[in-house]
């Protein structure tokens, strides 16, 4: 796409440098833990060492005696205020502080507040808790065993079953399978992962007794929604709550839920009438806050001998831990998992998901993912590879044979989605050329003859992002619109306030570029402000790649409202009628007489100094955008791996990522997003798992066990693009933040399985650690 604006204006398509980085690279960011307030005190959480135990007593006497300790809050204390439990974002409730029993290791049991963080931690050690251990349920496959303990005594339903959800035509699907010539099946676990943002969760709750106002500085991806929930649950008038989400050091879905620590800090501040800071440690973050995935999936594909896919059947068990704290749209208990039919054209599918409780941390959040899309993309892209193995055909050929053709859009998927636009084969072609696919296949043949192991993995994913249309999408009842408010100052500079909240996505730059594109005001003259509920228009926040599809759209529409008013002012200044005017970014001019023009800056000044008679002063607009549909970004990723037979280590030799996210605001930021997401996908595929032992002890509770890739492990990424604009988005964008995390795990795993496919290997569960590969090589007799 060519740029309509000059680099100086910096509208869409310009790779301008990120404005926010100036303060970040100087260490001048302002994160929640940087907030310092007079009289501030500190909270520390007492946590359960047991995954399942009856709480016999909580003795706080010794803790309270420690000099410097100001308060110790227990579940019983909260119960008196009816706050021992709080609602989750998905039709469940969770304990703020435990009463009765604990249900997962590291569950919150008591909250100690002291004059300094060290005294608070010492005080927490002095809280004596007596537990009686109970049988532990760790394996979700055993959740529904009659022999397993019922975990949730608070529920009327005496079962560990949370929900059953299904979509599609079961009988039609079963019928296709009965008659199918070829069938392929894969059992795939998408393991429990954690977003592990660089900044852990935390808050400073500041109740001012003089004004009656509560200010919460919060690591929040959705400050407005959180304000409303605090008002509804805490009974505090919403106008007396101000949530400020300052700079956020990565969220990835981890900062969407409300956590017990936030509630405890608020209660402590209300009690002590002093600001209370609570910041998680790394281990607390990994062990107790929103995990992702933990989907135990089975996919089956039915096809003809010609390789045309006829139907998909999916059965999934979702492990939600002790409480269903998934953060997703109300009508979708398994999120948008039904995008699992993928990039392929077939009429019949059926998908069912059952959610269960276990003695693990609560969650099921959307880690850089539009609600279970990552699980879905992984599953279908694995299943297609297994089908290719079954058919003894090339996985690329099989994909190309089954892609939805470009002329079929908008495409109605068998599970009910309407894909907005796509050209899947175009992205595939670019990826194949970039990687040199045919050559690689030849090389693989040669290497196999020599006994060397090399694999090529392909993933042609389809995303579904930008939730979402109000008729279908809400979170806890609040419709999933989003907002933008633009004010043009008299000198032609602007401020743009948003309902979303950047956690590193670069919103201060990209929203300014949208304003630059629509109004011709240089992006450098546009200040973008987010995260303060006292000033920003209401919005549902940033997650599920919704900022550009929803708030970005709102920004364009608000700017167009401003442009409409600007046109009236221009006509007044140029003494002509509106119909006589043409627009190019930055100015209105008289048709056929380009020298007779008024710049947007002239017009802005006139809006305050010389407006037409009868016109309101000022130049500003707000838009609450309700998207007509979701957007469907896509791409093809190709991964090339070499396997060391001696150690089982997988070396990613090359990784080509061709993304299509529609029209691009800032190509440099898109590349950065893709690099980051691919690195996360790489870690998930090869390194990361929040595991549990039989007693419910967390086995991924610190960075010693939950590994983060550094520059040493991370492969080099090669990116490419195609551009298929969204037909319904105001400027044709689709959103990109999550695509690389969604699309890449299948490419990595497909490559490893491809390297071993001639040995009869059809699937390996993530994370593919060297020992797993080595065991397979040993089992297959490749090594002794």
């Amino acid at each position: 796409m060519g740029c309509r604006t000059s680099p100086e204006v910096g509208g869409m398509g310009h790779p301008i440098k990120r404005k926010e980085d100036l303060r970040f690279i100087q260490g001048k960011g302002n994160y929640v833990d940087d907030v310092q307030l007079p009289e501030m005190v500190y909270g520390h959480m007492v946590r359960s060492p047991y995954a399942h135990a009856r709480l016999k007593s909580v003795n706080t006497e010794n803790a309270k005696k420690l000099p410097g300790v100001l308060a110790v809050i227990t579940g019983e204390d909260l119960a008196k205020a009816n706050l021992a439990w709080m609602p989750t974002l998905f039709f469940d409730k969770q304990m703020v502080l435990a009463t009765g029993k604990v249900l997962f290791q590291s569950q919150e049991v008591a909250f100690v507040v002291a004059e300094d963080p060290y005294t608070a931690a010492d005080g927490a050690e002095l809280v004596e808790v007596e537990y009686e251990e109970l049988p532990v349920l760790v394996d979700p496959h055993k959740s529904l065993d009659p022999a397993s303990p019922i975990l949730r005594e608070d529920r009327e339903e005496k079962s560990n079953h949370i929900f059953h959800w299904e979509v599609g035509d079961k009988s039609a699907t079963d019928e296709v399978f009965e008659n199918a010539a070829v069938k392929a099946k894969v059992d795939a676990v998408f393991q429990r992962c954690h977003p592990a943002p660089l900044e852990t969760c935390g808050c400073v709750a500041d109740f001012n007794a003089a004004t009656g106002r509560l200010t919460i500085h919060l690591t929040s991806q959705a400050p407005h929604a959180h304000r409303t929930l605090f008002a509804l649950v805490g009974g505090i008038p919403e106008n007396n709550i101000r949530v400020i989400s300052p700079d956020i050091g990565g969220g990835f879905g981890n900062k969407v839920p409300i956590y017990p620590g936030y509630v405890c800090a608020v209660v402590a501040s209300l009690t002590l009438k002093r600001p209370v800071k609570w910041i998680e440690t790394r281990s607390e973050n990994l062990q107790s806050t929103g995990f992702a995935r933990d989907y135990h999936m089975t996919a089956e594909l039915a096809a003809g001998q010609d390789g045309k896919i006829q139907a998909l059947r999916v059965k999934t068990l979702a492990d939600h831990g002790a409480f269903n704290a998934a953060a997703q749209p109300t009508k979708f208990p398994a999120g948008l998992f039904s995008i699992c039919t993928g990039a392929y054209d077939y009429p019949t599918a059926f998908c069912e998901v059952d959610g269960v409780y276990t003695n693990k941390a609560p969650g099921g959040i959307a880690y850089r993912c539009s609600f279970r899309v990552t699980e879905a993309a992984y599953l279908i892209e694995r299943a297609v590879d297994v089908l290719a193995q079954e058919l003894k055909t090339d996985p690329v050929d099989l994909r190309r044979k089954n892609f939805i053709a470009p002329q079929k859009f908008p495409y109605k998927s068998p599970l009910g989605w309407s894909y907005d636009s796509g050209d899947y084969d175009a992205a595939m072609k670019v990826a194949l050329d970039m990687v040199g696919y045919d050559e690689l296949r030849k090389e693989q043949q040669e290497k196999r003859k020599r006994g060397e192991l090399m694999g090529i993995g392909v993933s042609s994913f389809v995303e579904i992002v930008g939730a979402g249309p109000a008729h279908t999408f809400d979170i806890a009842g609040i419709k999933m619109f989003d907002s933008s408010e633009i004010r043009i100052h008299p000198t032609g500079k602007a401020i743009c306030r948003m309902g979303t909240k950047s956690q590193g996505q670069g919103h201060e730059t990209t929203y300014a570029q949208i304003v630059a594109e629509e109004l011709g005001i240089p992006a450098s003259d546009v200040t973008v402000e987010e995260g303060d509920t006292d000033t920003a228009p209401y919005g549902l926040g940033t997650y599920a790649s919704r900022s550009t599809p929803v708030s970005g759209a709102a920004t364009a529409v608000a700017a167009r409202k401003i442009r409409a008013k600007a046109k009236k002012i221009a006509a007044h200044l140029l003494e002509c009628s509106e119909e006589d005017l043409d627009w190019e970014p930055g100015k209105f001019f008289v048709k056929g007489a380009p020298s007779k023009a008024k710049t947007i800056q002239d017009i802005a000044f006139a809006a305050y100094t010389n407006m037409p008679e009868g016109m309101e002063a000022g130049l500003e607009a707000v838009d609450y955008y309700d998207p007509p549909n979701l957007t469907f970004p896509f791409g093809t990723y190709i991964c090339v791996v070499d396997i060391d037979k001696g150690t089982g280590e997988v070396k990613v030799r090359r990784f080509v990522a061709v993304d299509d996210c529609g029209n691009i605001i800032n190509p440099m930021i898109v590349d950065g997003q893709i690099h980051g997401g691919l690195t996360e996908g790489f870690a998930i595929a090869f390194m990361q798992e929040i595991g549990y032992d039989e007693s419910g002890n967390v086995q991924g509770g610190s960075f010693m066990d939950y590994l983060l890739p550094t520059a040493v492990e991370t492969p080099t990424w090669e990116t490419g693009k195609t551009c298929t604009p969204s037909p319904h988005h105001p400027f044709g964008a689709k959103g990109v933040g999550e695509s690389p995390n969604v699309g890449s795990p299948a490419a990595f795993v497909n490559a490893v399985v491809d390297a071993l496919s001639h040995l009869g290997v059809t699937h390996i569960d993530m994370p593919i650690a060297p020992w797993k590969v080595w065991n397979i090589l040993k089992e297959k007799g490749v090594v002794n």
């Binding site: 007492v46 060492p49 047991y50 995954a51 290791q105 050690e125 809280v127 004596e128 808790v129 007596e130 537990y131 251990e133 760790v138 394996d139 496959h141 529904l144 079953h161 059953h164 894969v186 059992d187 795939a188 676990v189 393991q191 429990r192 281990s283 135990h296 089975t298 059965k315 068990l317 059952d354 595991g691 549990y692 032992d693 039989e694 007693s695 419910g696 002890n697 967390v698 086995q699 509770g701 610190s702 010693m704 066990d705 699937h763 569960d765």
Partner: protein, 198 residues
Amino acid sequence: MEGVEHPEGEGRGQLISMAMQIEKTFQVKEPVEQVWSLLSDPRRIATCVPGAKITDQVNEKTYKGTISVRVGPTTTDYNGELEIVRLDSQNHEIEILGKGQDVKGRGSASMKMTGKARALEDGSTEITSVSEVNVVGILAQMGSRVISEVSNIMFAQFVKNFQAQLQQPADAAAGEAKPISAASLAWAAAKGAFHRDS
């Protein structure tokens, strides 16, 4: 929820057990009867375990006690019970069940140990112990790599104390073995972890 079947084995997440089996064998020059009199007396044997102390006898077979385990900067004090499940003087075998809770509420540990003394031809005695240890809580999160190193160090100390105790007359007042210093234990465990062959 009917018809939810998920296959065992392939494609399943794996559960790792924190229960560890630790088998140790060592020899002492004393004859088997002398060794057995020590091995079968919980009050005396407890003095050999680094950081352990018998505080009370509940009944013939059950004792109360404490044990202090230091790993790096953290000390975990367990408070619990020791039960002699089986005492076979004929075959010189003893089976002990120990269960303790961390006094600070950070977890628990249980151990089932079978000890056996066997006379060797030269008049000396071989002692074999097989322990199944299960740790729950913060300590368990550190994983088996740390715990097995710690148990190795504790065992080495135990053998030393055991040999020293054999020199004492049977009715000598039961003392208390010193807990190993935090620094030396942490350092030795770290060295062990880094220098393992496997």
